[in-house]
Point group: C2
Chain length 378, copies 2
């Protein structure tokens, strides 16, 4: 008898492009897809409690291996019973491999075929990350879904470098799978290849050939144009064909981008955007972005979004939250974050409903127009 799979899933096609409606069952509960995962970088979605996240409708959240391994360390979280217990989140957790942060945050990195050596952005200490260590860390964290270690390069750094990093990513993918440590943890592989269609097709072929529990698409939403992102997703979608596994588009979380990606068959998303912009005073509504630092809001008795059910909108006015931002009060960051996470998760719920009831085009048009200006403008 074979070991039961750590996750189970099913996806149904819809009448909207390649969009699909699905459900993923994990050791810590189900996920309805398409779904957005709020990011809890340092074992907390900034300013929010697990109770807030449940109330906001979160099903799965993301933890960052790079940050957690530097502080408080994976070994410490392991001794304390794993990441779920440590942060008191009883729902599903996906951890990344640490690769993205090593290649974007850390200083003085040196990549070889075995792994990457880097110095911590916190204290300059030297660390080593290999596919095997990335899996060991994630086993200690005990996430429901672990990610294989990949190598990220700037898609504009030339085909040779992109190809080299992609091929290393494929070798690391196989080693990550071989190093999987626990039967209750799914492992997703990561497709790379920049914005080059040939490389993307090759990467899908290499990653999809491995017995991963899911397929992630990395290296997008890193500065390329909207057109390049959607063209690349078209290539990936065609290459994946009828592959039955969950598809996770890494690092995407702007409202209009969800629609572009869902139509191309993507199921899961994560991004710091809704939480990061919230802390600058930018809140999201069906009318688009509002910047609560604008003086006009100081006299506005309306809630941030009258249609939103979050505690910030049920309880407080724009005038009050705008005051809190000017006074640099901690409650400002909390209320704006709670709203943006709630609104984003509710948008995904509405998106799923619209796929089921035929109103998808109207919703996509409405959100696309509202967020058309300065998309990804943080």
């Amino acid at each position: 008898m074979s070991t039961p799979a750590p996750i189970a899933y099913s996806f149904e096609p819809t009448r909207v492009g390649l969009a699909r409606l699905g459900r993923i069952e994990t050791p810590h509960g189900p996920i309805d897809t398409p779904q957005f995962m709020p990011v809890g970088t340092q074992a907390t979605v900034k300013a929010l409690t697990p109770g807030d996240l449940h109330e906001a409708g979160a099903q799965m959240i993301l933890g960052n291996t790079y940050h957690l391994n530097l502080r408080p360390t994976a070994e410490r979280i392991g001794r304390l019973g794993g990441l779920h217990r440590f942060m008191a989140w009883d729902g599903p957790i996906l951890t990344d491999s640490g690769g993205f942060q090593v290649f974007s945050l850390a200083d003085l990195r040196r990549v070889d075929d075995d792994g990457v050596t880097f110095t911590s952005h916190l204290d300059g200490s030297t660390h080593r990350l290999t596919p095997e260590r990335a899996m060991e860390i994630q086993a200690l964290l005990g996430s429901d879904v672990a990610m294989a270690l990949d190598q990220l390069v700037d898609p504009g750094s030339g085909s040779d470098r992109v190809a080299e990093a992609m091929e290393r990513t494929h070798r690391w993918a196989a080693r990550s799978l071989a190093a999987r440590g626990r039967p209750d943890q799914a492992v997703f592989g990561i497709v790379q290849g920049g914005v080059d269609p040939e490389l993307r097709r090759a990467s899908v072929a290499a990653i999809a050939a491995l017995p991963f529990d899911g397929v992630a698409i990395g290296g997008l939403s890193v500065g390329e144009s909207k057109a390049a992102m959607s063209a690349t997703l078209d290539v990936v979608a065609r290459a994946l064909g009828d592959d039955p596994r969950p598809r996770y588009l890494m690092g995407v979380g702007s409202p209009a981008d969800f629609f572009v990606a869902v139509e191309r068959g993507m199921d899961l998303f994560d991004c710091v955007l809704p939480t990061r912009v919230a802390r600058t005073g930018q809140v999201w509504t069906d009318a688009g972005r509002l910047n609560l630092r604008n003086a006009a809001f100081l006299d506005d008795p309306a809630p941030i979004d009258a249609a939103c059910a979050c505690a910030a909108c049920r309880t407080h006015s724009r005038a009050y939250v705008a005051h809190l931002f000017r006074a640099r009060e901690l409650l400002a960051y909390r209320l704006a974050t709670l709203h943006n996470v709630t609104w984003t998760l509710e948008l995904m719920r509405r998106l799923r409903a619209s796929l089921a009831d035929g109103t998808y085009a109207a919703l996509a048009d409405r959100i696309g127009r509202a967020f058309a200006r300065s998309e990804l403008g943080v």
Copy 2:
């Protein structure tokens, strides 16, 4: 027929010194005394929502006239429906007069008998505060209890200066009363006089002779010794005799100080101490202060205080909150603040219960020992 009083109150003597158990009815609900008021300086008890405050057991909170009048301004809060609506707190609110902050925070102040001119610590703009303006601001804020404007001086600045400020405070008290603007707002006068028994007796006589709804004791907990504070409270208590009105000791909020003051007949307290120290990682328990920045807590799976019912203690470990402090995560400040406010309000509830059931001495001894070292050590 006379106008109904804005507040009603009754106090019962106990077997413990001059300690009394009481209840104050305000336009926004009752207050059981002795009671502690968390401080919401800028229309927020830092990091907490009104819902958190209710859950923590708060009955009355304090707002700061100085800060609110500079930003977002009293006129703006008035247009938005008053401070209760603005901050969405439906319980009683006490506002101070602004005097304390003018004399401790503002720059370039110039006092004359009519009032005080000062420049804002925010932007250097010039402002004028008089007894009449302090009452006007508080009428716009719409607090349940307004404070008369007083002049604070360093108690160590010499008897002549202390006496002069006290006499001005008495003249301003009468003007504040004459300027009271709304029938649904109580006004408390403030006894000054430093740590000089003669001056304190004179100040009690002057303030208690006026038809205030309550009597506050100002100018303590500003650096004088513990012995000087309790001796001064003895003087004030004797001078007040059987005056039936609520007695509010301003600026006191350290655990052991509550007992010293309650035994001397004080009913109400406020202080930023529990919230301010929380944001540095200092949490309060029956075992005394814990500093969550100590490395030992990084591996401690116990809650901050196993006996505490706050969401931080019900949900999270010391290890987790200690990690959040090291990572400078917003949630650290929120959880520690929630705990300290909950613990302090629960201490007041236990203090009231102990006055009723004869266990006061044991509680006072326990808390006094736990917090004996470096009292007021922030």
